[in-house]
Subunit: 444 residues, 2 copies
């Protein structure tokens, strides 16, 4: 059955009770408490049962309030709060055993020592399953919670991110393996020759080190990135080991895949050393018609202002100033997530959507691809994307949770396994093992 | 049997494989991996079996390197690294059910939004068991990992701490109970009237809010503090709900207890609204002689340079410049933990210790009280301190772990229970329940 030697990697991109802004109102969806660890344990358990490579939590550092410069619609129409994603993967490290744990942390509003330490700690507690999704943050609401009036401009935040990640990797490398001797007879606990200062003095940061956590089981926790702008692509090609990306169509995804892999050589990296995982929202039915009915129902459940709150937040623009019954006007500035803004503007133009309609659309999948069909149709599509070198796998964005993930694991995963393009069992222990990524040696 | 109406509160102050710098070499001590969650799970489980109020992790943001301006002795002679304490309590929230979870975070090297969010998240995940131990950090090594050459001076760090904690509590209060409506029929998720901006603009911080986490199960996570200087006492009397303190002798402890309780009125707080828990290291034997032999053995196992590394770190002074065979000279500046420095200087003087001897002593219990005896003797002493209003309980610092905690739970706890001064079962769910502390209402 297998047409390709490549196999897929799967991530469970977890968000609220599902990515679809109508997901929390979906009838089959059990009402779960987003504040209860049991809910997250359940969802992580389903993903681990489905042999996923990882679960992933994104982040925003503020309640969305760009739309109308207040949070009213965000609070009213969807679950706009977010528990700390680093805390979530840490708690889940204690109640899962194989699945990779990816949490987002911003380089704009953290300190590198704290980030290096937190992820190294989680890598130890999880025995090598931690990954850091590096983001530069998006909007002014986040800036205002961290002492600034506006978010850093695009260039500055990438310069800061660049230096931030350099410091973090230096800190991770400040302990070699074998630094802990623990010779009780002779009273020697460690070998200071295997520990070093980092003495970083840069434009944004000054950090002496060493880290106060020994070298992590994975050497370095896995680095995940999602930049898709020109600058973001270079950044990803230099640093990322896994890339999450929004790719609405096959051709664009192939172009992105080729482009990123083509940039690796510039940074002395081997082809295949970065795994590219576009987001996709599967809406699954026993028949295609059933799947389409589900999609329609979900769309009806979205309040347009929920979608527009999310879109204003992502674009870092107040869209309440425009007429909801007219198309999205041309905006002369790009202030937030640039690649996302391009996708949205193109979609609105091609389909002639009003702003209200665009809100509902954005509320559905946040401009990620929606794949509506039977398990076999979804597997066909995944196989095609894999064969045509459009991706190394997918970040699965269930419209509603935990139900949607359960359906995916029960119906789609076995179909992928039958075709030989997805693992039946975990063969390794760490997240690097799942991806076939090398454990890096310290760079001295 | 019971002579007093008061009952004790007990904390398990967890540090490395025991507080005693010789603890890791102690023969009965199983060698545990300090990098392994199983170890922490085991120790937390013992404390929970013993019906302790809480477990507690202190913190330092650097490997101690004040002694000789290098980390060689710290790495060589003891476990000088520390996993992120916030991550530790978060992971433990998933595998414990009743015990309170206290982790330290510094107001000098964090942002209030991040701290407020992390502890609110842990309070949700643990169903109301989170507490924040507020510290201002101690030494230049920590400063150098966070972009500064030297630590903030004593006054500045308390001013910053004061404003930091104000912002954190405002953020915790930015959501009222009942803000989440979750009416699926009508599509109303939340009530924005129960959420508010904090709009803080101060000397150190500018934070708009609201927090992106709904009100915590405890209203606010419990605030713990350890300041003992004049400034620190006022700070604690204003903010702390639990105070950890080093009190080597009964009279000093009574003075401290009275002093803190006397300061409460100034801040419109009720007597008894703060629980004072001095640290104590119990060294337990079936006979007093056996306990003393244990103490002696532990002391032999400490390398003097381990103790002096720790002491240099605590005092923020390089003690390597002085003659190890002479007494600690009078120092004209106090740079680190001021109250600790006073205790140490007094001890050295009274007992005529050389610097090397002082190192061994400091390595034993970090200037906390050491209580050597049978379970009955230890219980007698605890009862006396409780009756004489020297404390509300103790922060138990086992010399070696998990063995020392096991002995305490097996031998001393039943003795305390028999005397009616310690709980036999948990009667509440949250850490506030264990302490009888009120759940605060939001201050608008």
């Amino acid at each position: 059955m297998k047409k390709s030697d490549k196999t897929l990697h799967l991530g469970a991109f977890l968000y609220a009770v599902g990515h679809h802004a109508g997901g929390w109102r979906y009838p089959d969806n059990e009402i779960s408490s987003l504040l209860d660890l049991e809910y997250y344990k359940k969802v992580a358990g389903i993903a681990e049962k489905g042999k996923f490579d990882l679960i992933f939590f994104a982040d925003r550092l503020a309640i969305p309030d760009r739309f109308g410069n207040n949070f009213n619609n965000s609070i009213r129409y969807f679950a706009s709060f977010r528990l700390d994603p680093v805390a979530l993967i840490t708690a889940l490290s204690a109640v899962t055993s194989r699945i990779g744990l990816v949490a987002t942390a911003s380089t704009s509003y953290n300190e590198p020592f704290a980030v290096a330490r937190a992820y190294a700690t989680i890598d130890h507690l999880s025995k090598g399953r931690a990954a850091w999704n590096v983001v530069t943050s998006t909007n002014d609401g986040e800036a205002r919670n961290f002492g600034r009036d506006a978010h850093f401009d695009h260039a500055t935040r990438y310069e800061r991110a660049q230096e931030f990640i350099e410091v973090v990797t230096k800190l991770w490398d400040s302990w070699e393996d074998g630094a802990l001797v623990i010779n009780r007879e002779e009273g020697v606990y460690g070998n200071p020759e295997k520990v070093r200062y980092v003495n970083h003095k840069g434009e944004f940061f000054q950090v002496k080190g060493p880290l106060n956590v020994p070298r992590a089981p994975q050497g370095r926790p896995v680095l995940v990135q999602a930049g898709s702008s020109e600058r973001g692509r270079d950044f990803a090609a230099r640093w990322a080991e896994v890339i999450f990306t929004a790719q609405p169509a096959l051709e664009g995804a192939r172009e992105f895949y080729k482009d990123i892999n083509g940039r690796l050589a510039k940074f002395n990296r081997e082809p295949g050393s970065v795994k590219i995982m576009p987001g996709v929202m599967p809406i699954i039915g026993e028949t295609e018609a059933e799947a389409k009915r589900k999609e329609e129902l979900l769309r009806e459940l979205v309040h347009p202002l929920a979608g527009l709150s999310l879109l204003s937040d992502s674009m870092n623009q107040d869209l309440s100033q425009f007429d909801l019954d007219k198309p999205l006007p041309e905006l002369d500035t790009m202030r937030g997530n640039q690649s996302r803004q391009k996708i949205v503007a193109q979609l609105a133009k091609e389909e002639g959507l009003t702003l209200a309609q665009l809100g509902k659309r954005f509320g559905a999948s946040r401009s990620h691809r929606v794949l509506v069909g039977t398990p076999a149709q979804i597997a066909d599509n995944f196989e095609e994307w894999l064969e045509k070198e459009a991706c190394d796998g997918f970040n699965i964005m269930c419209p509603y949770l935990p139900g949607g993930l359960n359906e995916f694991v029960e119906l789609v995963v076995p179909e992928l396994q039958r075709r030989g393009i997805f693992r039946k069992e975990y063969t390794g222990v760490t997240l690097r093992d799942h991806f076939g990524l090398e454990r890096p040696n310290p760079v001295v």
